[in-house]
Symmetry: C2
Subunit: 393 residues, 2 copies
């Protein structure tokens, strides 16, 4: 089955809200075996919504609309869609009974449509069946849309299945991956791949061909760079490795300012292995909290191998953990020098027996530098744990 | 002038990458006085790209494509667009000279088109003029597209101007805003507003009417809830308030796990007022680092008013700052009880003379709870500083 998405809202095509519904809903639909053909964002004007429906109804039998179902006057989706399909709006006593008076508009349902209650807000979702077409309406708030869509798909008799193969690599650029894969895959097979570069590495998506066989050959030549598949982010993979081995972790962040620990603690259950850490944005706090030596700061500067190592070791000792990670660098946009440019980051890892640091100069804006440093240091820890086992095994 | 956007890539309509180009590029175009009519995401197949061009070329004279300009075989945008407009591809000696051999494809330019070099990657941007239409091609990596687009717009003779009025509120729900505004605005004026709710509050966008006059009346009734306009995020506003007054800040985070400090340090120059802080994910670290009393933890639990206050005070004293902020709560998805449900967060603020804490139960998923708590505690600090001045003034 194929679907198309219609995202409604002036705020979307004005850049006022981050449009993430196409991503979120496509991801859910893929899991239910539905391929998204097109995603279209339009302004919340009746003519634009109708024009969008004209385009998409020709493409796919399933059309999913999101946005403009709320209680304010700029929410016109329900009315416009009802007009488009020539359906009257009927007040649902059941919906009405669960709403305060002032939200009465939120109890209207197009005749013949099914409605699906919203666990986080007042706007329900709807399923309209009209001849061969099915139209799903979802609220525009992503967490609400994401909660309601699976319910509607299951009501339609669909089941969740996982079929997609996406391999996650780190520390190898797209062009180098392509060279390496040319040795084991045919040009036709390579054409069936998509390469998705990001601050967390390059993902390889096997879209066509004998997926299992291609995957195996990719592993043959890239295994050292592969850290996971599908939704297995670096923070999840590293978290699982720590948890399985009973290891604990603490972090000392300078230029990444808390992002490393934020990512680690986005993983549910992270409190089992993550003990905490320090964000030290000043030299004094590096000395006082982490035991960095004043001499190291004076001789090498805060952004240096010596300080990265002392931070990692200091935080490990402070928290009594198996591992300590650290970052110290120049995130920009200012503060760089010829010798220490913007983007320069030293990242440290400390274990019971040894402490190491690595240097990189990351390209991009302040946020990119922060993200690249955080993933790099997570990957340092991943490789360190793997090496431990290789040498001991 | 109006424009439409065509975002190209299977990964986009499969949910494999976060599609943010529509948001980013719309925001830039708005600043240059260009209104985006539609944004369309299609798969990277020649037929789909051509179908997308068919739809959008009818809508607007300016069409901007992004994605599929890279060096791998799934990058087919340049070839497809050249075919569509019947242009041959010519190798540019200047581009070629700046590239390694294996990236030769990145030196091709459609005949008659202008190219614009990419500061962060190898794929350039292009401007094609064809009869009345102008077509812009941009790489799909957001930071690259965002860097090249303004250059092309300026080449086209456009200038950046700021015209949009978006008012940012916090701690007042959409429906309540609507009630309050009904007293000072006509139904017609209210229809010209858009309400954009998020974890950082509700933004009110004045889209039509006498913008300055409407803005003034909105301030009359909502001033207490308004913290900024346009791009002024809470972290920027609070940062500026601290900086202007010479105040310093430290943070102690439990359930928000570093997100608060990550946001604060996303603001360039934050090292002037932000000294650092602690992420304490265990009771022991709360006691050892922050001086939280064991008795408080035992009597009230880690998620309590007493602990939130001791964390805020402890981190303020440790870093010798003017203010300390703290969060402690249950981010979920598990760990809640009847008395302390998932989403419960205590947030503390400590100043030289006093320490306070506030309790909230936030709805949503783990990430939503973290975000809502972080914005709430930033707003506590904002209000505290304002109150200081009211009482002393």
């Amino acid at each position: 089955m194929e679907a198309s998405l219609l995202v409604i809202g002036d705020e979307v095509v004005s850049g006022l809200v981050k449009e993430i519904n196409i991503t979120l809903l496509s991801r859910i639909l893929e899991k239910y075996g539905i391929k998204v053909r097109m995603g279209l964002c339009v302004r919340d004007h009746p003519d634009e919504i109708k024009k969008g429906l004209d385009v998409l109804m020709k493409q796919t039998e399933l059309v999913i609309l999101t946005g403009g179902l709320g209680p304010t006057p700029d929410d016109i989706t329900l009315k416009t869609v009802s007009e488009y399909f020539n359906l009257s709006l009927v007040e649902s006593p059941e919906l009405l009974s669960s709403l305060p008076c002032k939200l009465r508009t939120q109890a209207m349902v197009p005749e013949g449509a099914e409605y699906f209650k919203n666990p986080y807000g007042t706007a329900p979702g709807f399923l309209i069946e009209k001849e061969k077409s099915r139209i799903i309406l979802l609220p525009g708030v992503p967490s609400e849309a994401e909660a309601i869509l699976p319910e509607i798909l299951e009501y339609m008799g669909l089941k969740e299945e996982k079929i997609k193969v996406v391999i996650r690599t780190f520390e190898i650029p797209e062009v180098r991956i392509l060279e390496v894969l040319s040795a084991v895959l045919s040009p036709q097979e390579i054409k069936g791949l998509s390469f998705l570069p990001g601050n967390d590495g390059v993902r390889i998506w096997i879209k066509e061909g004998d997926v299992e066989d291609i995957r195996e050959r990719i592993y043959d030549v890239l295994e050292d760079y592969i850290y996971g598949e599908g939704d297995e982010t670096l923070e999840k993979v590293v978290g699982r490795m720590l948890k399985e081995r009973g290891f604990t972790l603490a972090c000392a962040e300078s230029c990444t300012g808390g992002l490393l620990m934020d990512l680690i603690t986005n993983v549910p259950g992270s409190s089992e292995y993550f003990m905490g850490g320090i964000v030290s944005y000043s030299n004094e706090s590096k000395i006082r909290e982490l035991g960095v030596r004043r001499e190291s700061l004076e001789k090498h500067g805060a952004v240096s191998e010596a300080v990265a190592k002392e931070m990692a070791q200091g935080v490990r000792e402070l928290y009594g953990t198996d591992f300590g990670l650290s970052t110290t660098g120049i995130a920009g946009p200012t503060g760089g020098t010829g010798e220490k440019p913007v983007g320069l980051v030293w990242m440290g890892i400390s274990a019971r027996d040894e402490t190491r640091a690595q240097r990189r100069v990351f390209k991009g804006k302040r946020r990119d530098v922060k993200e690249k440093a955080v993933y790099f240091v997570l990957n340092m820890l991943r490789k360190y744990i793997l090496d431990l086992e290789r040498t001991s095994g």
